[in-house]
């Protein structure tokens, strides 16, 4: 059967070398329940390093839940039960005895709503290094500058590092959160709709930043904005009712999806 979908969403040209890349995350038959609500069903995904992997799908399909299993933040909700495997760099993080604190120093997370601490900009960035035992002021200074530069916000805040992070705009706060996450020098960055609370210009800045960051980090980003997924991601996973319907190269998903439901979703017929 040949599909004749007109690509409504333009996907920019991207290099295709993912076959040669190593895996960061592999979820095998991952299931998750909130009490009796079966929120993730037999998820199999293989996420490659130094790529941007987008997770799209309608509200309530389990995008946030999935990304939160990757750094085990779902554990903070008492009713959650999981089964299956999540292999991160060769080890199953769901296994008993896997230390979640270690995992989370390698896997940073940026949340939907900017959530800086009610502390100074400097202290926000220094928070991660401090909890991991760095006390030397010189080293902290360097980490703070490097992280803020990495999040493309250094020039905006370098003269006000001691001001409360709450004095910044929403878009700046989100980039502070990204910088805070870079300060622990992660391997992977998880982002859960990081631009949904931002204005278009701040959104653009964050999108550009993601492009920049993918050179050094593997990025998994949840978005309900399909244009965004098309613009910034290399791979896209389409979730529906807790299942992965399709997972493929972003240009393939947006130009020639193999599943009818993916096609319906990206052409805006539901969701």
């Amino acid at each position: 059967m040949t599909t004749t979908v007109k690509p409504k969403i333009q996907v920019p040209e991207k290099e295709k070398e993912s076959a040669s890349r190593g895996s960061v995350y592999q979820s095998n038959q991952l299931n998750l329940w909130y009490d009796t609500n079966h929120a993730l069903k037999n998820i199999d995904l293989d996420i490659k390093e130094n790529e941007v992997t987008a997770i799209i799908g309608p509200s309530g399909c389990g995008k946030s839940t999935y990304i939160k299993t990757l750094n085990r933040m779902t554990e903070t909700i008492p009713s959650v039960k999981t089964s299956g495997e999540i292999i991160y760099r060769g080890k199953n993080i769901l296994e008993k005895g896997y230390r979640v604190e270690e995992l989370r120093t390698k896997v940073g997370m940026v949340f939907q709503k900017p959530n800086p601490f009610p502390k100074s900009i400097y202290e926000n960035i220094a928070y991660g290094p401090r909890i991991h035992g760095i006390k030397n002021k010189k080293i902290l200074d360097q980490i703070v500058e490097k992280s803020l530069r990495g999040a493309a916000i250094w020039d905006e805040v370098k003269d006000r590092l001691n001001e409360n992070a709450y004095s910044l705009s929403g878009g700046q706060q989100q980039r502070i959160c990204i910088a805070r996450c870079l300060a622990i020098e992660p391997d992977v960055i998880l982002m859960d709709e990081p631009t949904s609370a931002l204005d278009p210009i701040s959104t653009l800045k964050v999108e550009e930043l993601v492009q920049e960051l993918k050179k050094e980090y593997s990025i998994i980003i949840v978005t309900h904005n399909m244009q965004q997924a098309a613009r910034i991601s290399d791979k896209t996973a389409f979730f529906l009712n807790g299942e992965v319907i399709e997972f493929d190269q972003t240009d393939k998903i947006f130009s020639n999806p193999s599943d009818k439901r993916t096609e319906d979703y990206i052409s805006g017929r539901f969701g």
Binding site: M73, L103, P116
Partner: protein
């Protein structure tokens, strides 16, 4: 069709407005009742007691002669008592609140504890006095000491501090905790660096209000058998002592009318202390009002 008959609405408006006015007046009277009684009380106490208020009043011990009577032992006793009660009750109270809110799993047992902490706040203070007498004074052999009284008072105000601290801890947004956990922080690091700093204004406000209750409590001290007249000040946590409310209580019982005026002077001091403590609490609450 119309459900609202505007003509009859207009007819009834007058009586509705009248009712509103009458009730407003009743509620105002209810408010004034308390205020007026309080004003009379304050006026009487101030006029009665002010002539005895002097520097000597603070530097002399109690005496058989009203003019020579002072509150040196009582006020120092009260201050020492607070200096012990504050750290004990805050350590226990904040510790309990942090355990219940941050560490404890939700189950029948912890639910039971949560409910009973609020119930404990309603237990009469005499009962705490009896508890202190049996457990701290007799069983632990602390006798009629500052320490025994401090532990008793700490227990008495513990529920208030726990409840206030629980509320303060609970009002710290989950997003902030999540941000900390997501960076690999342990629970304790998150509590110490994120939760407590954000909760401290609420904890302090509640604790100071609780302490101001403890400073005025008499019943537990009476049950413990704290003396009313002491001619020395305590030199250790094991020495006996007296406290302001005890001293005032003693003076009001005396047959000589002059002592009632001395008691009034003592009350002025005690109330001033209370007002200062409450003002500090209000100040902290306003200054650190939540910004998230």
């Amino acid at each position: 069709m119309n459900y609202i008959d505007h003509e009859s609405v207009a007819n009834k408006t007058n009586s509705r407005l009248l009712k509103n006015k009458v009730l407003k007046a009743i509620f105002l009277a209810a408010t004034m009742f308390g205020l007026i009684v309080l004003a009379i009380l304050l006026y009487r106490i101030v006029t009665q007691g002010s002539e005895y208020l002097s520097l000597e009043f603070f530097t002399s011990f109690a005496s058989r002669i009203p003019e020579n009577s002072g509150i040196k032992a009582a006020i120092l006793g009260s201050i020492y008592l607070m200096l012990l009660v504050a750290p004990i009750s805050m350590f226990l109270g904040v510790g309990t609140a942090v355990y219940l809110e941050e560490y404890a799993k939700k189950n029948k047992f912890t639910d039971f504890i949560r409910i009973n902490i609020s119930n404990l706040a309603g237990v009469p203070s005499v009962v705490f006095g009896l508890l202190g007498l049996t457990i701290f004074a007799r069983f632990f052999g602390l006798g009629i000491s500052l320490m025994a009284a401090a532990l008793t008072m700490s227990l008495l105000i513990l529920p208030i501090i726990i409840v206030a601290s629980q509320e303060a801890v609970r009002s710290v947004p989950k997003e902030l905790r999540d941000a900390s956990y997501a960076m690999g922080a342990t629970k304790w690091q998150t509590i110490l660096r994120i939760v407590l700093p954000a909760a401290i204004p609420g904890i302090l406000t509640g604790s100071i209000l609780a302490l101001s209750r403890a400073i005025g409590e008499t019943a537990p001290l009476v049950v413990l058998g704290i003396p009313t007249i002491l001619m020395f000040t305590p030199d250790s946590i094991m020495s006996t002592f007296t406290a302001l409310p005890m001293q005032i209580f003693d003076w009001t019982k005396r047959p000589q009318v002059a002592f009632h005026d001395v008691a009034a002077a003592g009350i002025i001091v005690l109330m001033t202390l209370l007002i200062i403590m409450n003002s500090i609490a209000v100040f902290i609450r306003n200054k650190y009002q939540k910004r998230y």
